[in-house]
Amino acid sequence: MTTRAVEAWTLEPLVKFVKEAGARLVLVMTSAGQVMAQHGFSRAVDVMSAAALGAAIIASTDEIARQLSQPPFAALNHQGERHGIFLGSVITGRGKLVVLAVYDLETSSLGLVQLFFEQLTGDLQAASPKEGVSKQVLAADFERELSDSLNTLFGR
């Protein structure tokens, strides 16, 4: 399984997380759904769908929390029959990043993913460039940026 990153500083923390948590698929993205790194995906279309859905879930739950006058949820977990899906966010020098991880219940667990997600947040915070939040993706550039990112993520 390959691990690839659009921004190189995300690669090492992600590789470590995948190894320790035993995650099967992982996406690191901005809260707008722009993918920064991925592990385990074999098709660009899956990355695009997962990124869009993950960002939408985070946006929805952030809004629920806001309406309840609560701070945003730290993490979300969905336990399936064979797999678990974990969504968590981290504030880095590049702004808020969302991590989506799919793990196999035979080889990993929510506890392990949570434990090593804590480590991942620390590693991403330490590794992220401090020059500021990444620029907003403009509508005109969106398709080109997406295409560039996918090319990088799939080694094209």
Partner: protein, 118 residues
């Protein structure tokens, strides 16, 4: 499994043994904390996740070896150890202990706690 009110007394059985630094109930499937009584400095979440992960691997190997379901296991380390009794409901009773703890006594109390928890 019994009600959460029984968890405290069950953990008391284990933590009163000299050399035990903490005791926990852990969800074996998820690796998350159900109840805990820990000394300062012990990370409950880490203990739960790692104990459950090791328990799952050991369970599969021990089943394959044909020695039946695991009743008790002890990870021995030079600065202490983890002692674990799985319950039929899938909860793990976990003790974090110092190296010179009376293993036989901790095992007995873990088994009693497992009976209390169900």
């Amino acid at each position: 499994m019994t009600a959460p009110a029984a968890y405290g007394p069950a953990l008391d059985l284990v933590t009163r043994v000299r050399g035990v630094r903490g005791a926990m109930l852990v969800s074996g499937e998820d690796g998350i904390v159900v109840a805990e009584q820990l000394m300062e400095g012990i990370k409950g979440g880490a203990v739960a996740a790692l104990a459950a992960s090791l328990a799952a691997r050991l369970r599969r190997a021990i089943d394959a070896a044909g020695v039946g379901p695991t009743l008790f296991w002890h990870l021995q380390c030079d600065k202490g150890g983890l002692l674990v009794v799985p319950t039929p409901s899938g909860v793990l009773i976990v003790a974090v202990a110092e190296p010179d703890v009376n293993v036989g006594l901790v095992r007995l109390e873990l088994l009693r706690a497992a009976e209390a928890v169900g």
